[in-house]
Symmetry: C2
Subunit: 261 residues, 2 copies
């Protein structure tokens, strides 16, 4: 990686430096004092202050304040970034077509610009996604209940996708909704919709519904009982442990959240 720092003495010079980064598709970081206008799906104004502006090679623009995780303004993958100097301000407009949105950054002062070309071909591996947990449970349904058999995964029904479509040891249809974090009322209602949809096709059968999650909110549990559904707690860190040990990787799950309820 090569990083180049610039300290432009004028806004005109800054324009050239920024334009160079855009055409050569470099990653750029700008430290400057600016005001910002955004209009599109929403609209916002940000009055003057020092900010960190990142422009990536795909045209993504991020404006960061000195605190907080989220950028205060942004533009994901803009088609077009235009530059100009107007009334002593360097104006950067990042335009996006769908949805039609514009981010306008007006710099009154630019302190530093850095250019860099990052060689990043790293692989990003994610564990413990809902998909991984679903996959594990579909192959190990007895984790949920002894005698359970998986019939279908991600089964399409009218209102959406059923995570696991199973039968229990008594032959009843069991519909399972998996959540990797605390299950909310929304999850319970989602499950209810699936059951109602399946009931249409098999009006005589008894259909069970189980929310499978590491924990559940109080009101969601009440709703579960009211709707005659069930809740089954699972231990996410336990699943993680099993999966990782199989994959011959050392286990590092000291921080994996333990479920509480």
């Amino acid at each position: 990686m090569k990083v180049i720092h610039y300290n432009p003495s004028s806004l005109e010079e800054a324009v050239k430096i920024i334009r160079d980064a855009l055409t050569s598709k470099k990653l750029m970081v700008i430290y400057g004092c600016c005001t910002i206008i955004y209009e599109g799906r929403g609209a916002s104004r940000l009055t003057q202050g020092d900010r960190l502006v990142i422009v990536k090679r795909d045209g993504s623009v991020l404006v960061h304040r000195p605190f907080g995780y989220s950028p205060v303004n942004w533009q994901p993958e803009t088609t077009d970034i235009s530059l100009s100097v107007e009334n002593g301000e360097l104006v950067m407009k990042a335009l996006r077509l769908t949805p039609r949105e514009i981010l306008e950054i007006r710099f009154t002062k630019i302190y530093t610009i850095t250019h860099a070309i990052l060689d990043d071909r790293g692989e990003f591996i994610e564990y413990l996604s809902e998909e991984e947990i679903r996959d594990y449970l579909s192959k190990n349904p007895s984790t949920i209940e002894e005698g359970l058999i998986t019939i279908d995964v991600e089964k399409r029904v009218e209102p959406g996708f059923i995570d696991l479509y199973c039968r229990d040891r008594n032959g009843n249809v069991v519909i399972i909704e998996i959540k990797r974090t605390t299950a909310s009322k929304d999850a319970v209602l989602q499950l209810k919709r699936y059951i109602d949809a399946v009931k249409k096709y098999m009006p005589r059968e008894r259909i069970r519904g189980i929310i499978v999650a590491p924990s559940i909110s109080k009101s969601a549990l009440e709703l579960t009982e009211k709707l005659k559904l069930e809740y089954k707690r699972i231990d996410i860190s336990q699943i993680y442990k099993v999966l990782r040990s199989r994959q011959r990787g050392k286990s590092l799950l000291h921080y994996i959240g333990k479920a509480k309820s």
Copy 2:
């Protein structure tokens, strides 16, 4: 704003530079080659590559790849950032207590570090938030329906908050759920829950429910009809225009999305 660039010749030197930024609560940008481990609510690994790492004064950590809006790994407001050199790698651990999560960045090479103190006391003004739209509609309920009267805003009921609690010209209770973007099935179900909750208290009254949004998904509209609820389209850009003209600011709504359906 003052920006200082460092090009540490060793990882030990880099540790000192980073520590200095942390103790003096500066904003720091690190260009380096690293591998990353994350464990907490989820878990992930990122193999070696060049990245941009931002550490803010509140301990937020962002790891950016050369493309895309979202950071590949992050930590929002960590309690604790520790540094060490292990096996020729600079290890930065950002710990968060609730939820318990750890982000471990292992740098094999650090190219550049920049420190900066940003003077950002700018005011961020957001327009067209659901709150602003709700406020407007509560004061101008006839936008939704002639003769509608607002009784309560953000009324607390058991399942949550009712956006607008109104009565129509015939004295019927009308519960309104506002969405600033396309209303989904979730929005409809949310409204249904509120109506059921209110019905408990007034079992004899006819209670109407209206989804108010610039557009609605096809399946959500079907659900609306099935549940005998209503949908009323509103023109967001029109509301924006009225609000802005009142606030004596020039209107800049060329980019404000026009609703379609």
